[in-house]
């Protein structure tokens, strides 16, 4: 994972300090920009048939090779922790989808977890 920028504090999207010195959280505009960059990166991964861009060495390399530019944009517009989170979430979401499909194919029924009280 040598290519991953470990120090992310110098990114342009880095929040500015607030009135009492702490760093401000990303606001709605920042978030929208981040989501946009994320979606562009994931679209690129989809085009190149790459699912995992973070957990395995091969995946990281493949993503870097095919969508290096989109990945840079992604890192630029989102906090590093968010980038990691979204990349991992992509894998988890895919696995979840597959599990649901498998269960449905086997004739099982997916029931969303409910509170124990109603319905």
């Amino acid at each position: 994972m040598g290519w991953l920028p470990l120090g992310s504090s110098e990114k342009p999207a880095c929040p500015k300090p607030s009135a009492d010195g702490a760093f401000e959280a990303p606001n709605r505009t920042n978030r929208a920009k981040c989501y946009e960059a994320r979606d562009a990166f994931f679209e690129c991964l989809d085009r190149n048939n790459i699912l995992d861009s973070i957990n395995t060495k091969g995946g990281v390399a493949a993503a870097q090779k095919a969508c290096g530019k989109a990945d840079q944009e992604f890192e630029k517009n989102c906090a590093h922790s968010w980038v990691e989170y979204f990349k991992k979430q992509r894998v988890v979401n895919y696995q979840k989808e597959q599990t649901i499909r498998r269960i449905e194919a086997e004739g099982g029924e997916i029931v969303a977890p409910q509170l124990p009280t109603r319905r």
Binding site: S8, A19, C78
Partner: protein, 326 residues
């Protein structure tokens, strides 16, 4: 003479049985009349037991008398002379004169349009009433589950500061329903979505129930979420939301009271980038500070608002409708 005597004797012989027969028959008749009126089977048993001793000729007459007695006794269908006393004094609603009328009535059974409408409307009315009552009782049960015995299971005293730097404790929640959410401002996607949902819920409840709800977001990330950061962050969602933060220990204690799991590294450097893992539930607390219900992500804003408004409408105690910031 002997012939005549014989004749007379023969005649006497002939008469005697006839007269005895007549008296015996009379006895049978009266006994039949007497007993049939009281009860049927024993008398007929007596009659039939007596009959074989008589000549067979008696049978039809005796039977006749029995049937006659029966008719006298209690069959109201054919009153022998006097009118039958009816069970009720009211006039029958529909007197069916002809057999066709009776047939026409019996064809459809006891149902007609009026009966059908009454039946269906009563059924529908009862259905809705019972559905409503069932829901109300279920809500009441949920609301009262956490009441009464000892400490409430969720929620409790806390001592935090709001986004203006003012102290805010559990006592400030009294008198209003509180909608408590745990989150952090650097949250990538779930918290902003949930806070947008919270804003919709607040507007919906305010519109329907007045100013009865106190929306609170408690930060699980006190190291980064200072009052100023919270203030800047929350104003994008809804002006009513109160953002609470505090020392790490106070936050930890509050999260423990609300059974909220969170994982913030206790010692973080300023500017460090990390995520906080935490449970994502809205906690509805009643005006006495007791836990009512947890609302998860699977509820839409409208569904969640409805759940809360139903509880608010059930509330019989005093409700503070003053603006919190006033």
């Amino acid at each position: 003479m002997s012939v005549s005597c014989n004749c007379i004797a023969g005649a006497m012989r002939a008469i005697r049985p006839a007269s005895t027969l007549r008296t015996e028959l009379h006895a049978v008749r009266t006994s039949a009349r007497r007993t049939v009126t009281s009860s049927h089977s024993p008398s007929s048993a007596i009659v039939y037991r007596a009959l074989p001793k008589q000549k067979t000729i008696c049978l039809p007459r005796a039977q006749n008398s029995i049937w006659h007695g029966r008719n006298l006794g209690g069959n109201p269908r054919k009153p022998p002379g006097q009118p039958v006393r009816p069970f009720s004094n009211s006039t029958p609603r529909c007197k069916l004169k002809t057999i066709e009328q009776v047939r026409a009535r019996n064809k459809g059974g006891p149902f007609n349009l009026t009966a059908a409408i009454l039946f269906i409307s009563a059924g529908v009315g009862l259905y809705f009433y019972f559905t409503y009552e069932k829901e109300r009782v279920a809500r009441k049960r949920i609301a009262e589950q956490t009441k009464g015995m000892g400490k409430p299971k969720v929620g409790g005293p806390f001592d935090l500061i709001d986004q203006d730097g003012q102290q805010f404790t559990h006592e400030d929640m009294q008198g209003k329903y509180a909608l408590v959410y745990f989150g952090f401002t650097h949250c990538p996607d779930i918290c902003p979505d949930e806070l947008d949902k919270m804003a919709l819920m607040i507007d919906k409840i305010k519109e329907n129930c007045g100013n009865v709800i106190l929306p609170i977001m408690i930060s699980c990330d006190p190291a980064r979420d200072t009052p100023a950061v919270l203030k800047e962050y929350l104003k994008e969602f809804h002006p009513d939301i109160i953002g609470l933060t505090g020392t790490y220990d106070n936050i930890k204690q509050t999260c423990k009271a609300y059974r909220v799991y969170f994982s913030t590294p206790p010692n973080v450097k300023p500017g460090q980038d990390y995520l906080v893992d935490h449970s994502i539930y809205f906690y509805l607390m009643d005006p006495e500070g007791d836990f009512v219900e947890a609302i998860g992500r699977n509820f839409t804003a409208d569904q969640a608002a409805k759940v809360m408004m139903d509880h608010i409408k059930d509330w019989k105690g005093p409700l503070n409708k003053k603006e919190h910031w006033a």
